[in-house]
Amino acid sequence: MAASISGYTFSSVCYHSANSNSDHEGFLLGDVRQEETVSISDTQISSAELLQVVEIHNHDPCAQLFSFYDYAGKVNEENLNSILKDRRKNVIGWYRFRRNTQQQMSFREQVIHKQLTQLLGVPDLIFLLFSFISTANSSTHALEYVLFRPNRRYNQRITLSIPNLGNTSQQEYKVSSVPNTSVNYAKVIKEHGAEFFDKDGVMKDIRTIYQVYSALQDKVQAVCGEVEQSERVKEKIQEDVNKLKQQIALRKRKTAEEERRLREAQNTDSHSTPEENTEPSESSLLSRIAFHSPSAPQRPSTSPNPPSYADLLSQDDSLLSSSSSPTSAALLPRPQAVGSPGHPTPGPLGMDLGLGLGLGLSLGASSNPVSTPSTPYLGNGDGSSSDSLDRQAAGQEDDEDDDEDDDDEDEDSSEYENLVSETTHLPVVSGSVLAQGRPAALSPDGDARGSQTT
């Protein structure tokens, strides 16, 4: 079985996790299918194998913990549906990001997983566990990830690959032709090969594929512009929301203080002259007004959560911790900012994860060694940077052949330049400077080639 996740989705999970001041979780959307792989063996009988392929296309982050389950791990189907909406049919699994914990499913996670399997009707629901650890001085951090198939025996683990560019294969260009003196050969390939080239001697495919790339990049640019606008709108409304919360909190505090003062005033009055209570005095009128202002029940802007790590550590910051605006608070790392070795003491932690934690740790011997935060993670283990480290050849460039003289055929190169500049002009996306892209691609010689070629 093979599983994959795109680098962008993976990074996005890391990004959302970095923004959370507690554990983070969400759903995995994607596709599971059987693929036939054809292998041709030496006996020349092709054998087809069925390979199960799990593709994680996207993730759906939960805004907070306990959004679809409670302390006991009981899943609330209604909440689940309101979170997933029509994406429900694409769910193939879920994920959790935890700091400084073991690489195995906790008891509660297992309980939740069983229910999700049933409710979502995905027999082989997968679970992706991200575990974050740091060195004591926070200079080095590691993000470990394991993909589980909990519904299989022994909680099977699958390798999760991140497809990427891999080998850019620039070495595959041929810098010289295989020597051949056959006149027939030269004649045939010239005559029939001509199909591939346009009148300028440029391969037609080059232009065609470049157009595909260019159109794609234009689209990327355009959607990027839209995303940028949406980020700014979101930021602004979040700011407004935060301000309102602050104002409300301030107003409530003031009201509470006033009430308290009035009550105190009343008490001293009532001790001395009990009759006065029956008359609506000025102070009691005020107090009645004060009492009338509905002490609105603390609206759970977030669903009833157990306190997150931030709340536990600094109660006063209850406003700031729920805010996400890049105010000065963003300049200081929160204690729970990714990379902090600080984590809650066992007490609050236990509260956060509920009963499960204790049980989870004792369940079964974990086969994977747990790295404690205090040891430098991985590498030589001793923090040395040595050349003896195993290095994969990153693909060395071929030394250019000697007979590849500086045949700077200007006509050829200028034709190519023309080719490129002809086919590229970015559409001007209204109101978005982004569409024009960067003025200069930062190429090694620093020239503004970007403006020419793009």
Partner: protein, 267 residues
């Protein structure tokens, strides 16, 4: 020979989470070579280096472990920093560099440490970040991504340099900044330009027969297709998903704002 002493002058690094996102995207884009970029931000009086965004760079020398940055690239990056300064109204400059170690330990090599030391001669506060990725423990099927931050100092004996660990924290930022988005979408463009440059050199060779030319043209086509499948495509998908996510968030936030306004009125 004069001995230039290199001081590490930074106490810690705060990396904004959207810049962190771009670094991760970049590092995970290829497992076959090291990628690199520059960090833009400011250094506070407290000697904390604050990284607001990163710029993806082209590597002129693709030999392994050659992650030097040319003066022209630094200069162009400074221009970008100025642009960011204009946008944010804060003084911005190039404050560090990052590169990836695919399949390799996260610790800087001797070359890395030396390169870092050179940058520190120009700017004491300059910091280096390394992202290690595509690591897998075959026994436990555990994948790993690591990142570290370092500066260089003179080793006690000899004129060699050694690394000094610098604490690094990723600072939450719920909204992705404009500069970070721009950096992210530069990657496909840079990859295409690299391919074009290589092809142009090949194309200039006069003595290639038609079959070889067709071959080379196909290599170009193939490579561009790889770039589109592996980078442009997933990037576009992520952008679309992000847009969708933001639209939902905006709706919810607007509803919350309404509720809060009403609540405030009532008080």
């Amino acid at each position: 020979a004069a001995v230039v002493v290199v001081f590490p002058a930074s106490d810690a690094v705060h990396l904004e989470s959207d810049a962190f996102l771009v670094c991760m995207n970049h590092a995970l884009s290829t497992e076959k070579e090291e990628v690199m970029g520059l960090c833009i931000g400011e250094v506070e009086l407290s000697r904390i280096v604050h990284i607001h965004s990163v710029i993806i760079l082209r590597r002129s020398d693709k030999r392994k472990d050659r992650v030097e940055i040319s003066p022209e690239q630094l200069s162009a990056a400074s221009t970008e920093a100025e642009r960011l300064a204009d946008t944010t109204g804060r003084p911005m400059r190039v404050v560090g560099w990052y590169h990836s170690h695919p399949h390799i330990t996260v610790w800087p090599s001797h070359v890395d440490v030396r390169t870092q030391a050179m940058y520190q001669m120009l700017d004491q506060c300059f910091v280096g970040l390394i992202f290690s990725c595509f690591i897998e423990d075959k026994n436990t099927k555990t994948g790993r991504v690591l990142y570290t931050c370092f500066q260089s100092v003179h080793a006690p004996k000899g004129s060699e340099y050694e690394r000094v660990e610098i604490p690094i924290h990723v600072v939450p930022r719920e909204a992705i900044g404009k500069v970070c988005l721009e950096s992210a979408v530069e990657l496909p463009r840079i990859l295409c330009q690299e391919e074009q440059d290589t092809y142009r050199k090949i194309h200039n060779l006069a003595h290639l027969d038609p079959v070889t030319k067709i071959h080379n043209g196909s290599v170009f086509t193939k490579n561009l297709c790889s770039q589109m499948s592996a980078v442009s495509g997933p990037l576009l998908q992520w952008l679309e998903d992000r847009l969708e996510h933001n639209k939902h968030s905006i709706l919810e936030l607007q509803q919350e704002k309404e509720r809060l306004l009403q609540e405030l009125e009532a008080l």
